[in-house]
């Protein structure tokens, strides 16, 4: 196994699938010659040529419209939306067109496409470049939604997303691009819709995603070491399909659920999971369901303010101890 950065794992996942299938093409702003503003696609132009790796104008509606049209007619396009905040300028194509077309046409159309995007905070980019919008996507029927936390998952889940016959929004946590991890050599594909239990505990189940996963793990260590609380940590990995089986069975074991998400508070995916558990596992619960979230505010640019608002390991520890004590 190689040690790769999260960033390099993106490149590897894409390259793996482009080698395998000539119908996989890739487009976005500054992705070809420059290799991406986050340097996630360096070398792809050189390997696959300008027909398959294409720079676009600053025209997100055109990028995703073209992606959709190409997917309807035989290609398997992958598009990059540089920052996930920019989904707002092309949300119609995503939410009204891509998501609904198979259904509206009674199954006549296939949309095997992937939209990769840099998501989330922690990079001091301010309110318009730091949002976690995976919950926007989860709210739209017809989309699949993936958000890896580790380089190995980046590669494996990106490959699976490209092979998947449905449109997938693939959220890369942009402040994790430099994080390293072991990544299997050679072909690597992970199934979509499978959460991963990263730690087994008995007192509480912490469910997290993306940047919140390492923080949840750190909190779990601390809970164990300093408070004698034993926590299960689940990395959701994919919001749609959602692995409710794993989540429900892990919560059933501990009787307590804490969700940890980067979204601003209202209508995040934590609320969805909390309410699934409140409905389906009510009788197994030993206490309230707690959501740790960013407060319902935009994110500030200053590092001191941003850090104070994003859920930290400390905040997770505090929430869990309050719940479990």
């Amino acid at each position: 196994m190689a040690q790769l950065t999260y960033r390099e794992a993106v490149t590897e996942g894409l390259a793996q699938e482009m080698r395998r299938d000539r119908n996989v093409v890739f487009l976005g702003e500054d992705v070809a010659e420059a290799g991406g503003v986050f340097k996630t696609t360096v070398g792809l132009l050189e390997e696959f040529g300008p027909d398959r790796v294409r720079d676009t104008p600053i025209s997100e509606q055109a990028i995703l419209g073209a992606t959709m049209g190409a997917a309807m007619t035989g290609l398997k396009p992958v598009a990059e939306i540089m920052f996930s905040d920019f989904f707002a300028v092309c949300w119609d194509i995503v939410a009204n067109q891509i998501a609904k077309t198979r259904y509206m046409t009674d199954g006549q159309t296939n949309l095997p496409l992937v939209i990769r995007s840099g998501n989330g905070g922690g990079a001091r980019f301010g309110a318009q470049h730091s949002q976690s919008v995976e919950n926007w996507a989860m709210a739209i029927p017809g989309l699949k939604v993936v958000a890896p936390a580790k380089p190995a998952d980046v590669k494996g889940l990106l490959a699976a997303s490209i092979r998947d016959p449905d449109p997938v929004l693939f959220f890369e946590q942009k402040s994790m691009y430099g994080v390293k991890g072991e990544v299997p050599d050679g072909e690597h594909v992970e199934p979509l819709g499978a959460a991963k239990v990263l730690r087994n505990g008995s007192d509480v189940t912490i469910v997290a995603l993306a940047l919140m996963v390492p923080r949840a793990l750190k909190a779990a260590e601390e809970l164990h070491a300093e408070h004698g609380i034993s926590a299960t940590v689940v990395d959701v990995r994919s919001l749609v399909p959602l692995d409710t089986q794993t989540i429900l069975s892990e919560v059933a074991k501990t009787g307590r659920l804490v969700t940890v998400e980067e979204n601003p508070r209202l209508c995040g995916w934590g609320a969805e999971i909390a309410s699934i558990v409140a409905e389906e596992l009510f009788w197994d619960l030993d206490g309230p369901i707690v959501r740790v979230t960013t407060p319902h505010i935009p994110l500030a640019a200053a590092d001191s303010l941003e850090d104070a608002m994003l859920p930290s390991a400390d905040k997770i520890v505090a929430s869990v101890t309050e719940l479990v004590d």
């Binding site: 025209s59 055109a62 073209a66 309807m72 290609l75 009674d106 159309t109 095997p112 959602l242």
Partner: protein, 343 residues
Amino acid sequence: MAAKPKRAAAAKRKPQPAIDPATRLKLYRTMVECRMLEKRAHDLFMQNLIKGTSHLALGQEAVAAGFGVAMREDDYTFCTYRGHNHTYVRGVSMTAILGELMGNSAGLMRGKGGSMHLTSVEHGAMGSYAIIGAHLPIAAGAAWSAQYRGTEQVSVCFFGDGTTNIGAFHEALNFAVIWKLPVVFVCENNLYMEYTSIYDVTAVRNPAADRASAYGLEPILIDGNDVDVVYETAVDALERARSGGGPSLIEAVTYRHGGHSRADPGKYRPDDEVQKWLGRDPVPTYRKRLLQLDIDEQDLEKIDTESLAMIDEATETARNAPLPDVDIAWIDVWADGGAQWRN
């Protein structure tokens, strides 16, 4: 901005051989069938057999017909909610269209799409889009795919005058030009958006043609009620796209005889304007021209009769079809056929 549009004039084109009589009859037949189809749709509303909204293109048939006849079978079309004709001319059955309008199991999508979303991938009718502007970049994407796959298919995208003022129009045009995509953008300028005149809200006189130069394209402004002109313009633009010459933007000036949609009696339009355009109705106008060109009136009557029989039969089949099985509301959210978002 209240000025009237200048008389639409055919763009300069290289001289072409005259359209042959068989093609002319096909153009006529296509327009007549479209007319019958939509008049019938109108009747079915009146009988309350069509429940949702619907947007008729009565009066605009020459555009759909001219392109429909000029296109290759494997070309793609993308159209709007006002897309019954554009879908029909690709070969979709009248029954499937009327069934969809009535929301029953005979429908093209068994009621899941409705009037505004007619689609028949099998016929290259890649969808009717109900949010203004969206399908322009999507059509460009299909063209990109054809270009990449080297199939010489062309993607044709129909939209209205009002659509030229939304952002997606601008993005799609620029994108198509820089990638030299085989796509033909066809603006049907019917002088109105919903209830508002296009001239009240547009910075230029010809909403599409006067924007062509912003994308390095030639302005092409044509009489959208003259099916010969539309056909010849379509042949040109399709050929240009197919042979690698890149996109075209065509503005075809036309008029809808009725209101914007089912709910609209169209009263905001001056009487004399309506009268003038009724006098330019593309179907009888073309019939007259064909007679002048010595086409046998019996051939035309045969088309009229056959079309009427066709729509009558389709109406019967469609109106007698059962409601869709409710279970279909649960399928095809995702490619596995289902609606299951969890495992």
